[in-house]
């Protein structure tokens, strides 16, 4: 009933301090990195805007070891409890405006006017929801088109809903929405890539439908969404599919703008890291969904974060 996410005490941040390790982000990668770094005895700070990262966009989690089918907010609360218990220093509710490396130190400019200094840095800013980039999407965003099931699902009780995408997040969204919707249709341009368990659960629904090899060409509606224009890729036939709402679940765009001058990125904007989570800049690590070949899983992000912190500790020891 209550998703309390405020810490027990505001951390007093010493902005004159030179930290050993700063983790940027407040999702599983940065939080676990902070936890490992503190246990290693590094002078640590975890910095970001909202606690939980992309986990906040998820409704349920069924694949994090030790927690079978839990509400994502429960998992976030458990992370918070653990972070607080180990007294991992957090600086929340700030935006990072600039990252620089001068000599051997990283300088992190914040929107509160302060600048943090650190010997090593982990960048784990996850991603933002990817758009389909088709006509009508921007106009009808917030008017039937949504990127957050937990936020906007409640508006569509007994309505016809489409979900764009075919991965785990799309299937999870569709299953979540199926509890309140009149109908839920998954529209996917290729095949379903989600876990079999979720696909089976969706296929068992009487009011669930899947359109594969189907492209969304346009969102239709003036003041609010009324339908989606689709094309069957096999027959080439175009039609209008009635929908009161469309939830876009086609993955994320890596949030790597701030790191682009410090680390090498691929064409998709993901950060190149080696097996130690190292970027091409000494002392700079990346973890979680922003890295290449990430499977975009909570447990993998958390593991990447742990690895980065341990590698940062090794790096500092060798200096």
């Amino acid at each position: 009933m209550f998703n309390l996410q405020i810490g027990p005490k505001k951390q007093d941040i010493n902005y004159n301090e030179t930290y050993d390790f700063i983790a940027l982000g407040l999702g599983p990668a940065a939080l676990n990195a902070g936890l490992y770094a503190v246990r290693k005895g590094l002078k640590t700070l975890v910095v970001g805007k909202d606690f939980g990262g992309q986990l906040k966009n998820t409704s349920e989690v069924d694949n994090y070891l030790g927690f079978s089918l839990v509400d994502a907010s429960f998992l976030i609360a458990k992370f918070k409890e653990h972070i607080d218990a180990l007294e991992v220093p957090l600086l929340t509710d700030v935006l990072i405006t600039k990252l620089e490396k001068v000599d051997d130190l990283f300088y992190i400019s914040l929107d509160n006017g302060h600048i943090l200094k650190s010997k090593t840095l982990l960048y784990a800013f996850g991603g933002n929801p990817r758009k389909l980039n088709v006509p009508g999407e921007n106009l009808l965003s917030g008017r039937g088109i949504s990127y957050c099931v937990t936020c906007d699902g409640p508006f569509y009780k007994d309505k016809d809903i489409v979900v764009a995408g075919g991965g785990n997040s799309a299937l999870d969204a569709a299953l979540d929405l199926s509890r309140i919707a009149k109908s839920v249709t998954i529209i996917q341009r290729s095949v379903l890539r989600a876990d079999k368990k979720s696909i089976d659960a969706f296929n068992a629904l009487p009011h669930g439908k899947v359109l594969l090899q189907t492209e969304i060409l346009e969102f239709i509606g003036e003041d609010k969404l009324s339908g989606v224009k689709i094309r069957d890729k096999e027959t080439g036939k175009e039609s209008i599919y009635k929908a009161d709402a469309a939830f876009i679940e086609i993955g994320n765009i890596p949030n790597t703008t701030l790191i682009k001058d410090l680390a090498l990125l691929n064409e998709a904007g993901e950060v190149y890291v080696n097996e130690k989570q190292e970027t091409n800049t000494k002392g700079l690590y990346a973890a979680g969904d922003i890295t290449i070949n990430s499977h975009r899983q909570i447990i993998i992000a958390a593991g990447d974060g742990a690895k980065a912190a341990l590698e940062a500790a090794n790096y500092l020891n060798k200096k």
């Binding site: 009933m1 209550f2 810490g7 505001k10 008017r143 936020c151 906007d152 409640p154 508006f155």
Partner: protein, 213 residues
């Protein structure tokens, strides 16, 4: 009757409320047993029990009409915050502050008590220059994890400038109002019924819209 806050949550909130600096008053306006009025009253009572710095006053809008008018109460339940000097700075909630909104509710208590975040001078200067009356409505759902951030921003602006008022509106309880403002995605921010923002936007984006007024 079972309490809203179990022992664990009550303990956590009590600990968080130790960050309060000065006393505050919360004035709750209800209309008998209107939808979520009694739940909101219970929740506020339980919260007030967790800190001796919170004073709760409950008003029936039909009885205390002058008081309701003074704080421009058009929806029930609604509650407003007054600082230790009894000054209303435009921080208001309409609807039950449960789910994720517990965060914006507790944050409003702490910040109204005088424990507010640090702001860069440049931002303070921009906010200080606002001389026109500004009304910020933030529509939310209680299941929206991004909504408290937008509510907190609206409330912070209200606390920084007497010309600005910020209200959280729980979209499902106030369905009619949500329909009027065509809310189907949250957080939806409506400024002076003229400009709109969608999502938990940074304070600068709020200011960009306010400066267009």
């Amino acid at each position: 009757m079972q309490k809203f806050f179990n022992k664990e949550v009550a303990g956590q909130i009590k600990e968080i409320l130790t960050q309060m600096k000065n006393e505050i008053t919360i004035k709750l306006f209800i209309d008998g047993a209107c939808d979520t009025c009694l739940e909101t009253k219970r929740l506020l009572e339980e919260t007030a029990e967790l800190s001796d710095k919170i004073k709760l006053v409950v008003h029936e809008t039909k009885v205390d009409t002058e008081e309701a008018k003074k704080y421009d109460i058009t929806l029930t339940p609604s509650f407003v915050f007054l600082d230790d000097k009894g000054v209303y700075k435009g921080v208001k909630f309409s609807g039950f502050p449960g789910g994720h909104e517990i965060n914006s509710f507790i944050t409003a208590i702490i910040e109204m008590s005088g424990n507010h975040p640090e702001y860069p001078q440049e931002l303070l200067d921009r906010v200080a220059k606002i001389t026109k009356p500004v009304d910020i409505k933030v529509f939310v759902t209680l299941s929206c994890p991004h909504c408290p951030g937008a509510v907190e921003t609206a409330h912070r602006l209200a606390m920084l400038n007497p010309n600005i008022k910020g209200v959280m509106i729980e979209a499902q309880t106030f369905n009619e109002m949500s329909n009027k403002y065509k809310v189907s995605g949250v957080p939806k921010i409506v400024i002076n019924d003229k400009h709109e923002l969608l999502g938990n936007q940074p304070i600068e984006e709020f200011l960009n819209k306010i400066e267009l007024l």
